[in-house]
Symmetry: C2
Subunit: 319 residues, 2 copies
DNA sequence: CCTCGCTATGAATATTTATTCATTTTTTGA
DNA sequence: TCAAAAAATGAATAAATATTCATAGCGAGG
């Protein structure tokens, strides 16, 4: 058959299907072809570029950037928020809200949610969650211990509690420090009934909300008397560590950095964390670019919620 | 949920589905939604115009015009050919070729094809059909008698024969004149075994190829001694007739014009013609616009094959 | 504070579309 | 000119998508 007429047929089928919304069987009837034939004409129309499908994103959305990052970093989903400026305050607030919205759409009542702490973005998240229980979960489980001194001590518990309240979920607390002074102390902590009970839930989580740490101690971490010392951090850095999730450290490619300090951390273990089906990293800011990238590449997170400035930086770095 | 985030979700789903070609279940898995939910997001994306699908027709095709005519004239399919100029020669040749291509795509080996005659476009059609039998039909049935004098006498038979040959189909001829001198003569013609046999096939056709006539006698018709006289034509015109298919006349809206002359025509009857599932009208030219329009509106044809000039004129007239 | 009607949701199901498979047709290479 | 490989086709079937249905949450009005 003359190719010109063939093309005419392809075009007509494409028009009827995509513009006029006619079913393939009806197109087949009108053009006296089989439905299979119409399906093949339509495939050709796509391949030859006779149809073009374009998405026009609403203002303030970044779906191309999101997709680029998702594929380059191997993530299931990336949420990039529009952010007024790249100050830490703006970023934390913006990604906290986005994370809340992510939960609104992605959370089921049957979900068992783990939450790390020491992350200002997660605090913002819990504040943006609607207080009325439209969004629900079954459990909210604290993934790492709190801190032993100061007001910050209770932050982890508070965060867990607030999240549990807003999600109408039963909370599970650690009630111990996140960093023990010695490996033996850690063992003692882990024997505590509370802790054991909570840790028993780790392998049964359906989702985890985590911050992503850098080696430079975050504001919250620094305030605590129990954070690692400068020397310890320097040692971690010399082992190649660039960041952490729940105090489990990894290098620039996301490979776990094993280190004696691991033995003092009271938190979900790296293997357990990686078994959680959906770990949502909520983080942004210039200083976190390298650790976010590493967390993604290492498979520590499946979902990333970040701001447009950090996202741009990640995209540049990745290409 | 914040509508802005909702839109972001819609956009992302649309992007994944239409740009990245991800299945709805996989999108659902990635965004933690149900497949039904994704389907609904996608519907919204279409409704809100976030996706736009456009067809860019290859050069020399007229799918918009075709669709416009199909819907305005109530036809299943319209083929508009690109035509170098609007001379009768160019038009006849162009639509003949297009008709041949239409048959190539639309004809099944099981089809029983009726063919009218006295149409230069149908002659062109049969000439454009490939002689090798790639395109096949079961039968080719002459729908109206030939003419009694001159070379033109055999045209109808020749056309039927040639078409049958090219389609590797068994022909059925009339072997009598298309217009009898009196109603009684017509009866006698119709009693002829050949004629009866052929006419018995009329109700079993799956497709018919017809020209569309105007009251002004066509070149072929005029040459014949047996065409209607000027007076008879004038009388038909005064009854409102504007054109015919197989010498069955109709007015500007396609309503059959019954008239004494009907009784002298040896051809498929109007009811039988209307019972054919797919009547393909092949016609073009400035003088035929009104009769083509009428044939379509009256349901005499389901498929129209014409040239771009005639198509434009039809579209203007119809709006 | 409760009830009705509205909307939204996910599981189940119906519909629609893509693919497979068995043939037939066409082309290519000897 | 023929045979073999490649391509095209349509019926059957598998896969994917849309819709239905039953249920649950939310707001308006009693």
């Amino acid at each position: 058959m003359k190719p010109e007429y063939e093309l005419r047929l392809v075009t007509k089928a494409a028009h009827l299907y995509w513009v006029e919304q006619v079913r393939q069987v009806d197109i087949a009837a009108r053009l006296n072809l089989s439905q299979a034939g119409v399906s093949r004409l339509l495939r050709r129309a796509q391949k030859e570029g006779i149809v073009s499908i374009s998405i026009k994103p609403p203002e303030g959305t970044y779906h191309l950037l999101e997709e680029e990052l998702a594929s380059k970093l191997g993530l299931d989903e990336v949420v990039v928020t529009s952010c007024p400026d790249n100050s830490d305050n703006a970023i934390v607030s913006s990604i906290g809200e986005a994370a809340a919205q992510y939960l609104a759409s992605a959370l089921r009542e049957s979900d068992r949610v783990g939450i790390s702490s020491w992350s200002s973005a997660l605090v913002a998240l819990s504040e943006y969650l609607p207080a009325k229980g439209q969004i629900k979960a079954e459990r909210v489980v604290q993934l790492m211990g709190g801190m032993s001194h100061d007001r910050a001590e209770h932050l982890a518990e508070n965060l867990t509690l607030q999240l549990a309240n807003r999600l109408a979920a039963r909370p599970a607390f650690m009630h111990v420090a996140g960093i023990a002074s010695t490996p033996d102390a850690r063992k003692v902590f882990c024997e505590e009934p509370y802790v054991r009970e909570t840790m028993a839930l780790f392998d049964d989580l359906t989702l985890a909300l985590v911050g992503i740490g850098t080696l430079a101690p975050s504001r919250f971490l620094a305030r605590s008397g129990n954070a690692f010392s400068d020397e310890e951090l320097a040692e971690l850095a010399s082992c190649g560590a660039v960041g952490d999730v729940c105090l489990r450290f990894f290098d620039a490619n996301g490979q776990a950095v094993s280190h004696a300090l691991d033995e003092r951390v009271v938190a979900i273990s790296a293997p357990s964390l990686k078994k959680v089906p959906r770990v949502v990293g909520v983080a942004g800011g210039r200083q976190k670019v390298a650790s976010i990238r590493a967390a993604a590449l290492g498979g520590w997170i499946q979902v990333l919620i970040t701001d447009c400035f950090t996202a741009e930086a990640l995209a540049e770095k990745a290409s």
